[in-house]
Amino acid sequence: MNTIALIAGDELRYWRRSKVAWTVLIILLLVSTCAAFVSNAEVSLRAEERLAQQAEADAIFQEQPDRHPHRMVHYGHYVYRTASPLAVIDSGIDSMVGTSIFLEGHRQNSATFAAAKETGLLARFGSFSPAFVLQSLAPLLLILCGFACVGREKENKTLYQLIGQGVSSNSILLGKSAALLMVALMALLPLILLGFFATGSDTFDFRQSLFVIVLGYFCYLAFWVFLIVSVSALLKTSTQSLSVLLGFWIIAVVLMPRLAGAYASTSVPTPSHIETTLRIAEAMRSEGDSHDIDDSAFVDLRTRTLAEYGVESIEDLPFNYRGFVALQGEEADTEVLNNFAEERMVQELEQKSAADQFSVLSPIVALRAFSMTLAGTALQDHHHFLRAAEDYRYNMVQTFNRLQMSAMTLADDLARNSSAASNQRTRIDSSNWSQMPVFELPPLAHEQRWQAASLAGISLGLWLLAGFLLLLFAARRLRL
């Protein structure tokens, strides 16, 4: 144990004296600290913006004058997506998905106005978040710091002196790893600091997730450390080690995530938005138009309802039959729409798991899934938002349909476009709009989040284990 500390200390001293290593360390610390601050500022700005937009949309909605409730169904409402507070660590898909959805009757609109679309080309170069720095840059800087850690001693023949003095090769490699791990920990420091000053960081949830995320990043960086030390020990020269490590970095960090995405989107093709819309339209043909109570699709409903209430005509029903048809129609429509929406989400999750298979080929794929899931900026969170928005839409529409049923007579409702008096009587009080609860995104259930992250967590653990085994193998080869 003591020798490990000695070797680590020696390596740290070497870095202090070497300009390159020193520069690399400073850059790493600087960049990861900057990323933490910039990301924090960006996320809180975005959150404020969206809260303000939501408040504005809510105010406009609540200020609507007295109206026919079905007008409100078509008037609709806007909901805005608020990002998870942990987006400061990993903004994930936040910029790639639409920020707002227009909710109205009979339709499910998609989320529009993605930030990436508005930024254009540069949005594709990544975001300056701690996640990006730790996933992509930190391994590169660790490589530049440590590629020669054993090779240098080989070239100077000091390695054989160490071994000659009875230092075990395990201790040498573990010592070198310990020194590099200190650098990795330094890179993680700003992330830990975020736990204290980021907006929303004062909750247990935030701290708990942050802790696990930091653990995941540590596993990832530790894998890189073991890889770097092993390669440096296994190859003949430092230059060779550098080439091999840089090559691995290019393939694992730059190529693999994109290849995974390309593979997933070709192996699990998804229909275009329009195709889905058209298929929905086709499926809805049999549903009938719920604005038209005489639509042949509702003959059955009429007979059943009349029988149930034991009356002869729809005029005799204790409620406005038009509102009733709207209610039933919306229910049937929504079922169709939800089927398509769920199908789409299943396809997207299939694509995601197809892409996640690349975790076997690159640890960054596993880490990205792990980090986004726990930060609440993964695909599941977007789906969660879509479902919550749909629930809200359905409740809102059905509330208005029920109001249409109860607050007016069928005769007035039918005559609203021909008689001004009926038109007036079918307008209901605006207080109904302000009574609508505002949209709130409930947090995704913990079990769901942990479950989704656990697979990625396991692959990260396996990568760490593989790195450690490689280190032991390299140590054995060094002894020979």
């Binding site: 898909i93 190529l255 938005h273 329009i274």
Partner: protein
């Protein structure tokens, strides 16, 4: 010295270097992969468009059979518009994924329809596209760094440099062939798959030359940069590698991301949702205004329909379409501002391209492939024009109050969407 012998020896020297061959093979494989995936993506897009046209026509024809009045017929008649991928789109898919490439519009307010985008899987989009533009912006420089960072240092560190210099009599005959062959190898490994892709897509010669030149320029830039670093005799090979990779990180990652942070804060507060919000307000407010207010406003800006008979009831389709159009016209200013702020960001992006070759080549390729912002706005303009055509096709029967008949409806023919050839020039 015999040039043929010299070149032959240098070529076989290159072929004997396993590391260099490995790097070239990697580039070849990745470049081929990106071209193949790009081609697959483009053909998928074309299939989707064909499918869209069929489904769209079916749906429209079906809805027409149900029509009982012109207003209702127009309400139900969606018309497909599409932006087919260009002959070079496979190489740079660019902004096609986040911007609409297919849409269906009807005679209602356009501002509520035009921002619908295709559904993408955000997690896949986040990882970034694996297209040729990516290979040339990211991977190509790394391969060049690999090929040249220790060009001089490895000879110096192994003690061969003096012998080489003395044997060569002049340094040019020593280094020029060596650099040339490596550059040639990199250019071929990168470009040959692209050329094959362009052959199969029958890419126009102009764009083919343009994209090849852009890639060669990128190779030239990085070769010169890395050679400048590598030729500093004070640098050991590891130092040269670290500095070169550092340059790559700065030029390919840091500057674009810093640029992004800058342009997002300097052109801030883009509220696209505002446009559709305003349009919705106007459209909905109309329901609560006296019909004559809406109609007078509409006739003021569209005097050609002013002689339409007055509306007597509380509802009429022509009133409905009038306030839809007024909704568009009210939101037009905001829509223009929305687009202008995106264009302003794009202009700043162009400035960033001067600082980062990765941004520059992406922009150039997207420009040539017509997958950039400009192209998507051009498509949007085409859709706006097409939407206007749809409106004009229905307005006569609505405003002249022609009695409804399926025969008359059948005479309302809206030609299929077609991108006009002279997009961007006047009009």
């Amino acid at each position: 010295m015999n040039l043929g012998f010299r070149l032959q020896q240098e070529l076989s020297f290159l072929l004997k270097s396993r590391a260099m061959l490995g790097a070239l093979l990697l580039l070849l494989v990745v470049s081929s992969g990106s071209v193949a995936l790009g081609l697959a993506y483009v053909s998928q897009e074309r299939e989707k468009i064909e499918e869209l046209i069929v489904l769209d026509t079916q749906e429209r024809d079906y809805k027409r059979t149900l029509a009982v009045d012109y207003g209702g017929a127009a309400y139900d008649a969606f018309h497909a518009a599409w932006n087919a991928p260009s002959d070079l789109a496979f190489a740079a898919i660019g902004q096609r994924d986040l911007n609409p490439t297919m849409m269906r519009v009807r005679a209602l307010a356009l501002e509520g329809q035009i921002y619908e985008t295709d559904s993408i899987n955000p997690e896949l989009a986040l990882a970034g596209r694996f297209d040729f533009a990516f290979v040339s912006a990211y991977l190509l420089p790394l391969i060049i760094i690999f090929a040249f960072y220790d060009l001089f240092a490895s000879e110096r560190e192994s003690g061969r440099l003096n012998l080489l210099s003395v044997s060569a009599q002049n340094t040019r005959s020593l280094w020029v062939p060596r650099i040339l062959f490596r550059v040639l190898g990199i250019a071929l490994a990168g470009l040959v798959p692209l050329w094959l892709g362009m052959l199969s897509e029958r890419t126009a010669l102009g764009s083919a030359i343009g994209v090849s030149l852009a890639v060669l320029l990128q190779i030239l830039f990085w070769t010169v940069l890395v050679l400048l670093i590598a030729s500093r005799s004070a640098f050991r090979s590891e130092t040269a590698a670290s500095i070169s990779v550092g340059m790559w990180v700065v030029l390919t990652l840091a500057i674009p991301i810093a640029g992004k942070v800058y342009i997002e804060s300097s052109v801030a507060g883009i509220k696209g949702a505002e446009v559709s919000l305003v349009q919705r307000e106007v459209v909905n407010d109309a329901w609560d205004l006296p019909i004559s207010d809406t109609m007078n406003a509409f006739y003021a800006s569209h005097p050609e329909w002013a002689d339409s008979p007055p509306i007597t009831g509380v509802w009429h389709w022509k009133w409905y379409y009038a306030f839809q159009q007024i909704g568009d016209e009210t939101a037009a200013e905001l829509a223009r501002e929305y687009r202008e702020s995106i264009v302003a960001r794009d202009r700043l992006t162009a400035a960033v391209a001067w600082l980062s070759p990765a941004v520059a080549i992406q922009r150039r390729l997207e420009d040539l492939a017509q997958t950039n912002l400009e192209a998507s706005f051009a498509f949007e303009d085409e859709v706006r024009g097409y939407h206007e055509k749809i409106r004009r096709a229905y307005y006569p029967v609505l405003f002249r109050e022609i009695p409804f008949s399926q025969e008359r409806l059948a005479q309302i023919v809206i030609p299929d969407f077609q991108i006009s050839q002279k997009s961007g020039e006047g009009d």
